[in-house]
Amino acid sequence: MRRVVVTGLGLVTPLGADVETVWANILASKSGAGPITKFDASDQKCRIACEVKPADHEYGFDPNKRVDHKVQRQVDPFIIYGIDAAGQAIEDAGLTDMDEETRLMAGCSIGSGIGGLPGIESESLVLANKGPARVSPHFVHGRLINLISGQVSIKYGLMGPNHAVVTACSTGAHSIGDAARMIKDGDANIMLAGGAEGTVCPIGIAGFAQARALSTAFNDDPTRASRPYDKDRDGFVMGEGAGVVVLEEYEHAKARGAKIYAEVIGYGLSGDAYHVTAPHPEGSGAYRSMAMALKKAGLTPDDIDYINAHGTSTPLGDELELGAVRRLFGDAISKVSMSSTKSAIGHLLGGAGAVESIFCILALRDQIVPPTLNLDNPSDSCMGVDLVPHTAKKREVRAVLNNSFGFGGTNASLIMRKVD
């Protein structure tokens, strides 16, 4: 059987634009939240977000490093974040000079939950105010969700599968899971896999606020707004950025002496079949997704040391995920650590599952689990579960589980472990 390992990582997040900076900030309990700066949000119910910081910031993002000037002008932010994170991952994996034979078996599976919302918004205004002849010729391909995979494949000459998942906030996890299957099936030896999002724009914030999904009670105290499992949580804080990993067939990675971070051993997926935005009241979709991943991995809950939870800081969602984990884990719940890094970087929507899978991989590498910030007054349901409040925690980490759930009732779970 073909095994799938992770050999490269790339991150663009509100807490930094390279893997080590982001991870150091996460472990130092920093928050990427602040007042919205990308537009005047004074008339919005939610006026805060976890924005990717500008290049001159201490841990800002410089798009000029890996994205052509011309491409930057033509595409939405999610594509720029995705191209950069993919480039980081390729460099980290030592794959910047692939020969043609290698590139024929190298592909992309980098998706997004929503795609080019800021550009759709702004070009709609151009259409309304100036007419159709002023709409950009790059409008369509600068907004399409599969255009991270498209751009990355063109830039690096990747001629294998070119795929892009769109499953709302499960996108990043599904992208990695699907890409791992393509490698297992022999469609590719190398896959760039992950997700990106960039929807901090008026229509994006307004839309999620109108769906009653965003936090609105902490506009004057942004770093306290994302507080998964805390009694005072009132919705998620929108994040933006991208996470991309290099997945590689194990023998292929070994043969070229690649650094191997982890092995992807379990992938579970399910549908709630219940409601477009509300999670199933018994968390049954989440339960089945995690159970499938465990079964595929051939593990029992005792083997999992860390769960990076979906944990978005919404009143309903956090509770139901925790309930599902509790039922699945039984007595093993007392030994596992479970945290939500959305408390630090917000909810990256289609990027979340990929970014959080990278945090899981780094937890495996460094034998430390990242914290859940702002967990001052845990909900009653949290009793007996280590949610890693406030500070990172050194502990044994043998295998990790990442959960991602999305609108439409779509669920994905990934399990990874160290390779001996």
Partner: protein, 78 residues
Amino acid sequence: MSDTADRVKKIVVEHLGVEADKVTEDASFIDDLGADSLDIVELVMAFEEEFGVEIPDDAAEKISTVSDAIKYIEENKG
């Protein structure tokens, strides 16, 4: 150099992300400046905005160098 030429070159530099000294009057957008057909559509739109001229599709198709653009604008601007 005319004011029109300066403004045209500035737009080309900004849109195509090329060095200013490469934008000579005889430079071809596609062969010398790395543009594709859609980039030219975008450039033509930018010229229309900047100079308040209308460049119909059949005229736009004949604009392949920087000097073609300058010449068309000089002859047609109001």
